[in-house]
């Protein structure tokens, strides 16, 4: 039970980043590896840099900072390149995430910072299960964010976005301003990345390079489910969190990174569209 809860918590954090990937990928074909670094920056904005301000305000600053990073990096760095060569843009996003990590390291030092969860750390016992307030917060906040995203996409206004996900040129032809919608989607991915960073920092340690690891694991989770569908990317990441927790619990905690990338290789070889991809594609 403990493993199940722990797996769901880390899985939800991966899924927040994975949802960010999937939102952008379905709209533009672009994988923004810098989302992990944006999560890390949001962590520093929340827990390190503004520690005299009230916590709610720090969270707002972190969300806003991540949105600005998301949108500006697309407009100023990736967009032109992505039009010609999407893979080059993906590699640039990897480079940008290293730049962000180095900048934070210069500003705040390389040592991991403690991050105290705004939700507190007291444990709750539910029958055989003991779970911290922070873990409950992770589950509740990510569930709320996923639900809001789902509701937004299935609404009247979301219809235009779903049309754009399926056929961008046709959406443009019927009058949907796809460039403007893309900016909104980058903003949304920024919110998801920031939420992941704020929620992850008290669990994983907050350090300049935590984003790189988060970016890679969430990517593996997203590919495991299927990057082309938002809900499969989320499901794949939760699944990966669970796999990781059970592997660490029953086999070896030291080899969990190996597990993650082992899964990645197996998925890429066995089914590049993701194990949940086909089922989800029919259902959307």
């Amino acid at each position: 039970m403990l493993l199940l809860a722990g797996g769901l918590v880390t899985g939800s954090i991966y899924a927040l980043v994975a949802a960010g990937y999937a939102v952008l990928y379905t709209a533009t074909g672009f994988v923004n590896f810098a989302l992990g670094a944006q999560a890390m920056v949001a962590g520093y904005l929340t827990y390190v840099w503004f520690d005299t301000l009230p916590v709610m305000l720090r969270i707002v600053i972190a969300l806003a900072g991540s949105v600005v990073l998301s949108v500006l990096s697309w407009v100023l760095i990736y967009r032109r390149v992505a039009e010609k060569d999407i893979l080059a843009a993906v590699i640039m996003s990897f480079g940008f995430s290293i730049v962000l990590a180095e900048v934070v390291q210069l500003a705040a030092g390389g040592i991991p910072r403690p991050a105290r969860s705004p939700a507190g750390t007291e444990a709750h016992t539910l029958g055989p299960l003991s779970i911290s307030s922070h873990s409950v917060t992770v589950l509740v906040v990510s569930a709320i964010l996923f639900t809001l995203l789902g509701l937004a996409l299935s609404s009247r206004g979301g219809l235009a976005i779903r049309a754009m996900f399926q056929d961008k040129e046709m959406a443009e032809t019927i009058g949907i301003p796809t460039n403007r919608v893309t900016l909104w989607l980058f903003a949304v991915s920024g919110i998801f990345a920031a939420a992941a960073g704020i929620l992850a920092a008290p669990i994983l340690s907050l350090s300049p390079h935590m984003g790189t690891r988060l970016a890679l694991i969430a990517f593996v989770g997203a590919v495991l489910g299927g990057l082309g569908t938002i809900r499969s990317a989320i499901a794949g990441s939760v699944l990966l969190g669970l796999l990781e927790a059970f592997f660490a619990g029953y086999i070896s905690a030291d080899w969990r990174a190996t597990l993650v990338f082992g899964v990645f290789i197996v998925v890429l070889v066995a089914k590049p569209t993701g194990v949940l991809g086909r089922v989800a594609a029919v259902k959307v």
């Binding site: 009247r156 219809l159 235009a160 779903r162 049309a163 399926q166 056929d167 040129e169 046709m170 443009e172 032809t173 019927i174 009058g175 949907i176 301003p177 796809t178 460039n179 594609a281 959307v284």
Partner: protein, 238 residues
């Protein structure tokens, strides 16, 4: 109404259509015919704005729209049925119509969808099916319906009959002919010359990115090119 002057259209640095002069008047229906690879679809992509003009100008009601983004042309009254229909496969028939109707104007969305259903009752029967599950003929009706849900002034159709059984494209073609007769401007790319000539009053013959013939249906019928290539034994029988 629509006027292209010395238009050069292509992909990136590649030019496909060299120097095109083309007009579609108010209420006029015009066809574009020519062999595969002549540049017909490329021309339409230039008009819809998906491919910017490499040179030349385009005006709409006398206003220069050469640099108007594609997404702003639908609201001006230009609606496109692209080659291959491009219905939204994972949206239902009714959502396909709704998304197009709403994209140009939030008012009277329901009425415009109902108009399309009245025109193609088959779509009303299938309104809750996903676009991807429709037959080719139904998809063509949906693609045309989606364009009409925008209440356009110019309806552009690329390859109306391609891949459809004669009984289907005759039916769809007849609907388009009635719309044209009712005053809607039509620009039709169509390999079936008889079908094109029944719907339209004027046409252009395009080859290698250039207009080689242009004129009214009566004039074109008398040319050797049209007779040999499209109306003789080799052409499809409409």
């Amino acid at each position: 109404m629509l006027e292209l002057t010395h238009a050069r259209i292509g992909y990136g640095p590649v030019t496909v259509v060299g120097d095109l002069n083309l007009t579609v008047g108010d209420g006029e229906s015009v066809f574009l015919i020519g062999p595969n690879g002549a540049g017909k679809s490329t021309t339409l992509r230039g008009i819809s704005g998906l491919n910017g003009l490499q040179a030349g100008t385009m005006t709409w009601d006398g206003q220069d729209i050469t640099h108007l983004p594609a997404s702003r042309r639908a609201a001006r009254g230009i609606a496109v049925v692209p080659e291959g229909r491009h219905v939204f496969t994972q949206l239902t028939v009714q959502e396909n119509l709704e998304v197009a109707a709403r994209a140009v104007n939030r008012a009277a969305v329901r009425e415009r969808i109902d108009e399309v259903f009245d025109l193609f009752p088959r779509l009303r029967e299938r309104q809750h099916s996903f676009g991807g599950l429709l037959s080719g003929g139904e998809q063509q009706m949906l693609a045309i319906g989606r364009a009409l849900a925008q209440r356009p002034r110019l309806l552009i159709i690329d390859e109306l009959s391609l891949g459809l059984a004669p009984v289907i494209y005759q039916h769809v073609g007849e609907t388009v002919r009635e719309l044209a007769a009712g005053g809607l401007s039509v620009l039709l790319v169509e390999q079936n010359a008889r079908l094109a000539m029944r719907i339209c009053s004027r046409g252009y013959l395009l080859a290698h990115g250039e207009v080689v013939l242009a004129g009214t249906v009566e004039e074109l019928e008398r040319t050797d090119e049209m007779r040999d290539l499209y109306l003789g034994g080799l052409g499809k029988v409409g």
